[in-house]
Amino acid sequence: MSRKYLLLILFCGILLAVPSIVRDTFYLRIVTEAFMWIGLAISWDVLAGYTGYLNFGHGIFFGVGAYTTSILMNLCGWSFFMTLPVSALVAAVVAVIAGIPTLRLKGAYFAIATWALARAIQQMVLVASFTGGPDGMRLPPFLHPGFFYYTMLIVVGGVFALNWFLLEKAPFGLKVKAIREDDQSAMSLGLNPTKIKLQAFLLSAVPAGILGAIYAYWITYIDPASVLGDMVTDQAVVMAVFGGLGTLIGPAIGAVIIFLFKTYFWAYLSDYQVLYLIILGGVIAASVVFLPNGLWGTITSYRQSDKALKHEPVSSRSDDKGDPHV
C-alpha cells in the first residue's frame, strides 16, 4: 500500500519537474496536449463507461468553453483566469439544456441526438457574427509553454482525482453504474435516474469546457472546425474505447498512446492526415473486436483471473454451479 503512494508521489514529482527537464518547447507542447486529451477522454468516459451513454457531442463543451473564453477576452477584455469559471458555467448550462431532452433517449438514439446537436451548434457558431463566423477568433498571444503545461497538469490532475473519488470511492460511482446496468431496478431502489444522469453529464461536460478554454488561450486561434468539429469528440471516443471504458485509468492510457501515435505521424510523415485517419479507424475496429474491454480492461481481467486462480478456493469461483446456497 505505502509503496503505491510512494510511486504516486514520485510520479507527481516527475510531472512537476518536466518543464525544467524538457527544455525543448516542441516536446513540452506534446506533453501538454497529451494532458488535454487525457482530460477529454476521461471526461467523455464518465458518461460512456460509467453511466452508459455514448455522447457523440462531447466536443460541444470543449468548443463552448473555448469560445466563451475567447469572446470574454477579446470582446470584454477579461483576463484569462477570470474567464475560466464563466466557461465552466456556460458548459454546465449547455449540459443541462442539452441533457434534459437527450438523456431520456437510449442507446443509439442518444448518440445520434448528441451528434446532431454538435453539428447544429457548430453551424450556429459558423453563422454568428460575435464568434467571428468561419474566420474564427484570435486571442491575445501568451507565449509561455510552462504556464500552459502547469495549467493543463493541474486541471487534468484535478479532474482525474475528482473522477477517481466520485466514481470509484463515493456512492455516486455505484449509483451511475446502477443506472447503466438497469435503470428500472435502480429506480425501484430509490435512485432518481434523471437527476443522477444529469449530474454525470455535468461531471463530464464541465471539465471539457475548462479544457476548451485553456486550449483556446494556448493555441491563440480557434474556429468552428478546430474546436467544435467532429475530431475533438471522435478522438476522445477512440482513446477511451481503446484504453477501456469505465476504468478511468484506461482512457487516460488510451489517450497517451493514441495521441503520441498521432504526433509521430504528424511530425515524420507528410501525408499524415489521411494515413492517421485510416490507421485510427483500423485501431478502433481491431480494439472493439480483439479487446472488447479495451487495453486496460483486458489487462485487469487477466490479473484478476490470475489472482482468482491463485487465491480463491474453487467453490467461490464464478463459474461454479454446484453451490448449494444459490
Binding site: 456512492p171 455505484l174 449509483k175 453504474k177 428500472q184 429506480m187 431502489l189
Partner: protein, 241 residues
C-alpha cells in the same frame, strides 16, 4: 391497527384497449402476508407496477399509510419504504452481488462504509454471503432471485412486494426462500406476494386476493378461496400452474 396499512381503491390500468387491471380494491393490514394469485396475464405484475409507482393508474387510488401515493415515481416510493422485486429479475449484471445490494442500502445508509456493512448483513440473511464478490451475472437463476429479494430488503422496507420469487426454484431452494419470507414477517414487514405455486401461497398467506382478466374475483382465507367455484373455474379455464 385502526387504519389499513395499504389501501388499493378501485385501481384501473389499461394498455390501449386492454384492461390489465380493472377496478381492483383490497386492503392490507400492517404485518400481514397477502397472496395475490391468478392465471397468467391476470394483471398481477401490472398491479405491482402500479403500487410501486412504475405505472400511474388510469383511475383509482393507492393509499400507503394513509398517504395518497398513486402516480408517485418509484424512487420516491422506495424511499418511503416500499420494496419490490421483479418477476423478470433485474440484477445489475456487471456489478458484484455486494455492490448490487449496497446501492439499495444507500437509501438508509448514505455513507459507503455503513452501506457496505448493512449490505453484508442483508446477504447474511438471504444466504448470499459467499457469493458477495462475484459478478451478479454469474449467479444462477435461484441466486438472482435471492439477489432480487436482497436488494429490496436493503431498502429496509415496511411493505415488500414479491413477484414470483419462488417459481423456478428447486424444492430445497424454495423452502429456504419460504423460510426467509416467514422470518421477514416476524420482523414486522408487510408482504404482498405473487406466486403460482399453490403450496407456497396456501402455506404462508394470511389472506389471498384472486385476479382474473384484471378483475378481483375472490378474496379471503387461503382455505375459502381454494374452495371458491369462480376461482376453480378461472384456474381450470386456463392451464393451472
Amino acid at each position: 391497527m385502526s387504519e389499513p396499512f395499504l389501501q388499493v381503491n378501485a385501481v384501473t390500468k389499461t394498455f390501449g384497449g386492454l384492461h390489465a387491471v380493472f377496478q381492483v380494491s383490497f386492503q392490507m393490514n400492517a404485518g400481514e402476508i397477502i397472496g395475490l394469485i391468478g392465471p397468467n396475464g391476470a394483471g398481477k405484475t401490472t398491479l405491482f407496477n402500479v403500487i410501486s409507482g412504475f405505472y400511474a393508474p388510469n383511475s383509482g387510488k393507492i393509499l400507503f399509510k394513509n398517504l395518497d401515493i398513486s402516480g408517485k415515481p418509484p424512487y420516491k416510493l422506495a424511499r418511503l419504504g416500499i420494496g419490490r422485486t421483479f418477476q423478470v429479475v433485474k440484477p445489475f449484471a456487471g456489478l458484484t452481488v455486494l455492490e448490487n445490494v449496497v446501492i439499495a442500502s444507500f437509501v438508509k445508509y448514505p455513507q459507503r462504509r455503513k452501506a457496505e456493512k448493512h449490505a453484508w448483513q442483508i446477504l447474511e440473511m438471504t444466504g448470499l454471503v459467499d457469493r458477495a464478490n462475484v459478478q451478479a451475472s454469474s449467479l444462477t437463476l435461484a441466486g438472482r432471485k435471492r439477489l432480487e429479494v436482497s436488494k429490496a430488503l436493503a431498502l429496509e422496507p415496511t411493505l415488500l412486494l414479491l413477484d414470483e420469487v419462488v417459481a423456478g426454484l428447486n424444492p430445497t431452494e424454495a423452502d429456504r426462500t419460504i423460510e426467509l419470507i416467514l422470518s421477514l414477517r416476524s420482523q414486522g414487514i408487510t408482504i404482498l406476494i405473487v406466486e403460482h405455486i399453490m403450496r407456497v401461497i396456501m402455506n404462508i398467506s394470511d389472506r389471498v386476493v384472486v385476479l382474473n382478466f384484471g378483475q378481483k374475483i375472490a378474496e379471503g382465507s387461503p382455505r375459502d378461496v381454494a374452495k371458491n367455484p369462480e376461482v376453480i373455474q378461472a384456474y381450470l379455464g386456463e392451464a393451472p400452474q
